[in-house]
Symmetry: C2
Subunit: 274 residues, 2 copies
């Protein structure tokens, strides 16, 4: 059995592994593409990471993450924009298909949700051209509304598309992550509308009961209640032909041997996603 060529392993799925382990694991399991995170890349070093991944013949389907752009205070905004420019530079070096933006929640003590959303729109106007000049595509990620207060004030695909609209699709795209959007009654219409804006398609399951830390609620495809094939068909009908990234944050998965995680990921991907 050969591993599906469009399967990309987001390295967070094997959080127990460093980048060297991830690259070796992909070779062992026939995985051709990875989603990277800035922190483990920094541990190895940016250029060394880029070489490591390139030498292994791996595609980089995404880099996580830029964002956290909701602060209104001048100094905090400057710091955030600088950090995002660095993230864009890193995505360029790594040859990532896109830089995922988790845009941030409400600033500390703030109740001004519309203001926080406006701040993201303003920041995008600064960052999109910078990314464009470096051939990096920003990918706005709508997060599940349960993360609206503390992680991402973009809560639906429709809203992400509204924010992306002023920019060329090759500069600002969107992420379709089943975990975040599966509940949305508008999702089919918005995926169709997204078309070429889809910069990344990510899968993992919504598993009940939610764990105490809802950040770790993601599960293997098939363990929860999401029907993946309609999503795969919908993004394909919209024109997306890129990698399909598996990104699972789950304490149980992180406590298992990495090779087991990869084997299960591949199996479930074939069984539920394609």
């Amino acid at each position: 059995m050969t591993t599906p060529e469009r399967l990309s392993l987001n390295q967070k799925t094997v959080n127990q592994w460093g980048l060297h382990d991830v690259v070796d694991g992909c070779a062992r399991h026939g995985i051709e593409s990875v989603g990277l995170w800035r922190e483990p890349v920094a541990e190895v070093g940016l250029d060394a990471s880029a070489k490591l991944v390139r030498d292994a013949g791996l595609r980089v389907s995404s880099l996580c993450r830029g964002g956290f752009l909701t602060a209104r205070e001048e100094r905090a905004r400057t710091v955030a924009l600088d950090d995002n420019r660095r993230a864009i530079d890193e995505a360029a070096v790594l040859g990532a298909d896109c830089l995922v933006l988790v845009v941030g929640g409400l600033p500390d003590g703030s109740r001004d949700l519309d203001g926080a959303r406006m701040a993201v729109t303003e920041a995008l106007a600064t960052l999109a051209p910078y990314a464009g000049e470096r051939d990096v595509r920003l990918a706005l990620e709508p997060l599940h509304p349960m993360y609206c207060a503390d992680r991402a004030v973009i809560s639906t695909l429709g809203q992400a598309l509204d924010m992306a609209e002023p920019f060329p699709p090759e500069q600002v795209g969107v992420v379709v992550d089943t975990f975040h959007v599966w509940w949305d009654p508008e999702v089919w219409r918005q995926i169709e509308r997204a078309g070429r804006r889809i910069a990344s398609y990510q899968v993992c399951d919504w598993v009940l009961p939610l764990p105490a830390d809802v950040l770790l609620a993601r599960g293997y495809m098939g363990d929860g209640c999401i029907d993946f094939r309609p999503f795969t068909r919908a993004v394909e009908a919209a024109g997306y032909t890129g990698d399909i990234e598996v990104e699972i944050f789950n304490a149980g998965v992180w406590a298992s041997p990495g090779d087991e995680v990869l084997a299960t990921t591949i199996k479930r991907f074939e069984e539920y996603v394609l």
Copy 2:
């Protein structure tokens, strides 16, 4: 200081109290309206509860709850419809302004979200006329999307309005509960669209971090990140002039003395909602 006359106390906010305590507490604190739940009403008896509340001069702003209408299997559907007819009868006896419907999550083992939503629409076609004949108004409650899998497949106000549309507004309305809809980028447009469909306006806050049981994530107004006044203004601009119900599920609130809860509820209501 007089208690705001539109403040309605949902009895779940003082879950530590039975209905007699609730009625006495309202008298002590000058609260003129209550939201009731079927289980504590049943403990006292339906007719006795109706008399108790009526004799105390209290309005009943809502009865919680009907719903759980997503089953596709014939026998389960019959049981659910029968139970909802009973809930409608009870709402009529209690003189409740509306019967809140929490429509239910995915049936056990199902991943057919669109099918579950369809089942609700079909059930409504049966229940709405039944309610209409008894002068009871059904109120579809969109729940926060984090409850989509296990409690309510209606996740946005827009979706609730789409489902309500085939029915007269006096038969099928919607609930605007800040906790459930505050994150929704479409919410202002949908409240305006709702107009006379707004059957109930409920307030409580979104407090971080979420507790291990997300059902108990609700907090006093002012403890979290929701800006209530824009919601109050929006529902009023849409034409809603009814009671404003405070419904808090919170382990800490339930562990406090009931009179303290009522005093805090009134204080926060004046401070943050009006």
